[in-house]
Symmetry: C2
Subunit: 345 residues, 2 copies
């Protein structure tokens, strides 16, 4: 098996820098659209054969060093009892935002083996189809990020309602976060049991919190979650998006790998975090538009800086944009491999 990704997660020596790409199973691939056009987005998440098919595409087309389950972080929220819809040009919508005690009380902690079977089946199919070619990453949202969707009723710019609950009803907020964390623990443990070989926790919106608020209202739930995942034995990646000022605290989550967005240089991250955590990232997704020579320079710089970390997994600093030409994604994978020594004697 190509285990460069797993070794880099654990800080073990690797012959070259492994790479995967956030949202690599996605809209920039024509092959994705061929499958996606037959379903709504949620139907695709819930159809294991099709979800596995789109998860496999970037492994075959790009040659990345890890596959990631095709799903959405909000899928388990639906099973907590919050009806979910995805609207064209608007994204996810919870028609009944969770903002009071009655709504929080109504939420349940689902049994993933019974209620999220399609996710676990997707993982089982993928492990079979991958046949140990590359490892499979499972994932979830982080509790704070999941809570923002439930409280706001979808995406947000200001996170007004989330912060209102944090500030004015902290006990209710904590009760909600505890339920979400319990759900997420079960969900990720089940993913590992079904065959996920690493787990990534996406804290997509945590960058809207001041450091003190992060310490009080987000970090404790990530710590609890990561602790509960230790027994699975699989490496955990925690990505606190836009969290430049939160990195040191994010490290106390206990995750094996910290995702770093493109606003932070890897050099800076290594200086601040030291040698007991691996790093993942962090090319600006739009930098794929650079001409090849300038892209190569930038990739080489990130690889060189990543060598100073305990372990480094190359990735974009955020999900790949739908407008990205597939050739650029292929070029990136090739550049990372060549420039970091793959194929050298």
């Amino acid at each position: 098996m190509n285990d460069t990704f797993l070794k880099a997660c654990r800080g073990e020596a690797v012959p070259y820098t492994p790479i995967w790409i956030m949202r690599q199973a996605g809209r920039y691939l024509p092959e994705y659209h061929t499958v996606r056009d037959k379903f709504t987005f949620l139907e695709l998440c819930k159809t294991p054969e099709a979800a596995a098919e789109v998860s496999m595409q970037p492994v075959d087309i790009l040659g990345v060093d890890a596959a990631i389950l095709f799903s959405d972080i909000l899928v388990p929220m639906e099973k907590m009892g919050a009806p979910l819809d995805f609207l064209e040009n608007r994204g996810p919508v919870f028609a009944h935002p969770i903002r009071d005690a009655a709504a929080v009380d109504r939420l349940v902690v689902p049994d993933p083996e019974l209620e999220l079977t399609y996710v676990l089946d997707t993982i089982r199919i993928l492990r079979r189809e991958l046949a140990d070619k590359v490892p499979l990453i499972g994932f979830s949202g982080a509790p704070f990020t999941l809570a923002t969707y439930l409280i706001e009723g979808g995406g947000s710019r200001t996170f007004w309602h989330t912060k209102q609950m944090m500030y004015q009803a902290p006990e209710l907020y904590r009760k909600l976060l505890e339920k979400i964390t319990a759900c997420t623990i079960n969900y990720l443990q089940a993913q590992a049991a079904a065959g996920a070989q690493a787990l990534q926790i996406f804290d997509s919106w945590v960058g809207v919190l001041a450091p003190d608020d992060y310490a009080e209202f987000a970090l404790p739930y990530v710590q609890w979650l990561v602790r509960a995942l230790k027994e699975t034995g699989v490496p955990v990646i925690y990505f606190a998006n836009n969290g430049a000022t939160l990195l040191e605290m994010a490290k106390t989550s206990g995750a094996d790998v910290l995702g770093v967005d493109w606003r932070v240089s890897i050099d800076d991250a290594v200086a601040r975090l030291g040698q007991d955590v691996s790093l993942q990232g962090n090319l600006d997704p739009v930098a794929l538009l650079l001409p090849e020579d300038r892209l190569a320079t930038r990739v080489e710089r990130i690889i060189a800086q990543g060598r100073k970390a305990r372990g480094h997994i190359f990735n974009l600093g955020h999900g790949i944009q739908p407008e990205t030409p597939v050739e650029k994604a292929k070029l990136l994978v090739q550049l990372v491999h060549e420039l970091s020594g793959k194929g050298r004697a």
Copy 2:
């Protein structure tokens, strides 16, 4: 005159911490709506008596230590030759995005005395009405932020087209930025000549740039702009929003004051920036929803950290939200004044 704001800009001793609030002349004030309802947004910007009236409101209602001109950063872009509209629920729209050489060539550098008279008239009225009660702040967008609106044709999430021009047509990008910078220099110099006693440069979107891209594609134009403003003799505030990793570079702009958003603690900013620049910020705007005792604790912490800086002007870390109760804004001004020593013997 209450010159605490200007003294803090220059790092001179002040009896208490001055405060003003970004977007203090705005939608959270019922009195603002009374005036605003008679105009479109752009008409209000272009009607000096009315723009001056809404600029005065927060001085009278909240008791802030500085007034800021009511306008919009995109007003001078219209006079560069880019027709501008503000659409309900969508914000600013340039119907003809600037993306090629012909479009850049067509842009002109307007003479603010002739073409932006309404802004300068607003300043003249405001200086008369303020009668030296508190100083008046003028402002503009920073060149990068202004360029994003022109290139994207409005707001953006990914800044795809802006970065595409940066990466694939850097000479064209530079030509555009030079024109915008020239326009902005004239515009801010004219504001100072008309009576603005400090100038704030809003770099609202610069936080989407990786540090290396900031150094290459945004910072040089801010440095040029600030240098050109030195001769006006008025203090310059540079606010690189969401720029936690850019602060040290932002300081090389030469601005007298750096705005800091709420993601960075003031303690951290002082440690990184030292004693030769003043700081402005940085309460999370949504933290105004905190109960009074917790709000006071947070305000007190920011004041205490700000005392370690050369000078500190209290502000929110971003514009005040329209949903904010006016009473909370009044309370903030009162807390900052009381907790920092105003009225003490």
